[in-house]
Amino acid sequence: MKSDLKSVFGQKDDLHILVFNCGSSSLSYKIFDVVQLKQTRMLAHGKAHRVGVKGTKASFITYNFNGRTHKETVPIRTHQEAAELVFNYIRKNNLKINLVGHRFVHGGNFFAKSAFIDADTLKKLRLCLPLAPIHNPIALSVIYVSKKNLPETKQYVAFDSAFHSTLPPVAYTYPLPGAIIKKFAYRKYGFHGLSYLDVMQKTAAWLKTPAGKLKMIICHLGTGGSSVAAIRYGGSVDTSMGYSPLTGLIMSTRCGDIDPMLTIYLMAAYGYRPDYLLEMLEKKSGLFGLSGFSSDIRDIIDKKDEKQAKLAFDMYIHRLKEYLGSYLAVLGNIDALVFTDDIGVQNWLVREKVCENMAWGGILLDKNRNRNASSDKITGLNAAKSKVKILSVPNDEEQVICMEGLRLIGESA
């Protein structure tokens, strides 16, 4: 199989896949060495943190290669700058890259699955930009940086909306007039699909039960965007993000759910310009808007004694609990409550507060286990008598993207 893969590229050496994953305030990258079609080995990895964050702490990037970890504290204003740092590192270490994969949040109606990047794909990706105005443009900018640095190397995109294609009409419908729905295709898409797929599979493996027999709620709590998904028997049945990634939970700079009429009111009665208002909802609201000083929940927890920071933290938990309750109602009962992504696996206080007073739903946290949980491996956090398993599961979206690349190669061979 190894030789088959390589024949596609005419490579004699190893096959290396570089995967980029843009969060709204981070850029993760991983380089995989493909051993076999379904077996990969991570060769190098790292992450640029606090990219473009308005906070009190400095941005930095990490590099992990050959067992060495290296951290560089450097101003990183854009995702392009972060990607350039990665390519510099690749050149410095003489790493060969044969394929580049990118995560793309919103493929709209243009993409039902992953695709190689050619002129036609690029054109469609550009049409998708306004669908996820924070994520799509930064992902596209990293695609351009990659093309500039590796002009001869094939690239592909994997989409975040695909996992939620199983949503039932009750979950995806917006009750707007038929003509409007028909013309603009408004519906709930949902995001973080690559993470949900990965975490669902890992949870099933950990519980030694096929995903097809499990009901679970996964909280994907990131440093930028966050969402929750209700998953029944292997498929997503509801999720907190909507047509765009703006809605649902309170996020670092995104407002999450608000009264849709409020936007009209602010424009009509207060004279907000539409582009200014949308930018405010996306980039100046959420934890940043509430606290007034940081978009990072870790900064906010540090200053929890201050009134605005406390309000931001309380609202973050309040909203998340409301989604947890509503998805419990959707699923009836659940086998597992899973926390993932940076905040989900690292922040014990968020998990403790979310699970507080949830015994009625069969959710009982072991506070000690929760406080001492490792953030880099799957950990059970529930008390022994909890009906629901509570897990912290590190996600690996890059691994899923890498697999999508191998699938594409397989299809095109």
């Binding site: 306004p130 007039p177 047509y243 009429m261 409020l262 207060y270 309000l311 009625w360």
Partner: protein, 358 residues
């Protein structure tokens, strides 16, 4: 005779109550309205008190029922900006009668006041804080009704810590979470569009859609109309109807889908309130015509079987309260027939009694 007023943006409705006799009136708003009202109540006797229904009390009015004076009316006028089409008209009606009958008690029923004291975390949007200072927050509505429910249900619940969810099923379905008699959450937001879909209102949708529609050349006025007048059940069914008609048994596939969508969203809201209450002791449904919404109530309750809700149905009635769950049910379920006119009438009579006693 007690005179009660209720208005929307276009119509004035009134009731003149004298013992068991009721005069009902309705007229379109135009400068001749005082003459029309006066003519309709001419033979109902002397006016003893007048009540006005204020849809939106903004941040100024924090009492659900209060005596209205000319000074207080100026505070009411300040709330007009939040719901100008409705509040402006209410102010005009009150102003007219305050001048015409200055010596009798005037009562103001404020529909947002019950939720004025919601916890900060429930009131706020995650927007820049300066907007909060401009009054951008969640207000809730139907406070008069949810407050009434909290008092009606009191004998059936376990003290001030009881976890209660009150569910109004009707043209503007909405829910509130109550700890005893204290509200801690509402499904309505800054406007009643947020939350569950209504007959013609969209309910919560992704707000970015507003921006995309505007970018596509649709004006704010049209978008406003689209979300508030042309969406909800009207959009799902392709025609305007009421909730009772949606739940009339039948095999119309659009209606079946609409029922499912509605019950799904009400159930989700109940679930979310359960999470912030720390469980549910009691769910109270209330509507104008409970018997016509039995299907909706049984469908919604059925979704909580896994939570230990054992639904029995409309069998046992005590006074005006149906008890809908089995004795062994972990969650108690009640249903009350509701009329905002009756609530206004009852509380105006109670207020007059207290006033006389003082």
């Amino acid at each position: 005779m007690i005179l009660l007023f209720y208005n929307d943006a276009f119509y004035i409705y009134w009731r003149a109550l004298r013992g068991k006799r009721v005069i009902r009136g309705k007229c379109k708003y135009d400068p001749a309205w005082p003459a029309i009202v006066s003519a309709s109540i001419a033979r109902a006797g002397k006016i003893e008190a007048i009540g006005y229904f204020l849809h939106h009390g903004g941040e100024q009015i924090k009492k659900t029922v209060s005596f209205l004076t000319p000074e207080k009316l100026s505070a009411v006028a300040k709330c007009v900006k939040f719901l100008p089409e409705y509040n402006d008209l209410t102010c005009q009606i009150a102003s007219y009668w305050l001048k015409k009958t200055p010596d009798i008690p005037h009562l103001l029923f404020c529909d947002t006041a019950f939720f004025a004291g919601l916890p900060y975390k429930a009131i706020n949007y995650a927007l820049p804080y300066r907007l909060r200072k401009q009054g951008i927050r969640r207000y809730g509505r139907y406070g008069l009704s949810h407050r009434w429910i909290s008092k009606q249900i009191k004998p059936y619940v376990d003290g001030p810590q009881a976890k209660i969810i009150s569910v109004y099923l009707g043209d503007h379905t909405n829910l509130s979470a109550l700890k005893g008699e204290t509200p801690i959450e509402t499904s309505f937001g800054f406007t009643p569009i947020e939350g569950i879909l209504s007959l013609t209102g969209s309910g919560s949708i992704d707000p970015t859609i507003v921006f995309y529609l505007h970018a596509a050349g649709i004006s704010f006025k049209e978008i406003n109309e689209l979300l508030s007048q042309k969406s909800g059940f009207a959009a799902l069914l392709g025609k305007r109807t009421d909730l009772q008609a949606v739940f009339k048994p039948g095999k119309d596939h659009k209606k079946i889908a609409a029922r499912e969508f509605y019950c799904y969203n009400v159930a989700k809201c109940i679930g979310s309130f359960a999470a912030i209450l720390g469980g549910i002791d009691v769910v109270v449904f209330f509507c104008e015509k409970p018997e016509e919404l039995k299907n909706a109530i049984s469908e919604i309750c059925g979704r909580f079987a896994a939570w230990g809700l054992k639904y029995r149905g409309f069998i046992k009635k005590e006074n005006n309260l149906w008890s809908l769950a089995e004795k062994s049910s972990r969650i108690k379920v009640y249903c009350l027939q509701h009329s905002k006119w009756r609530i206004m009438e009852e509380s105006i009579i109670a207020s007059l009694k207290t006033r006389r006693a003082q």
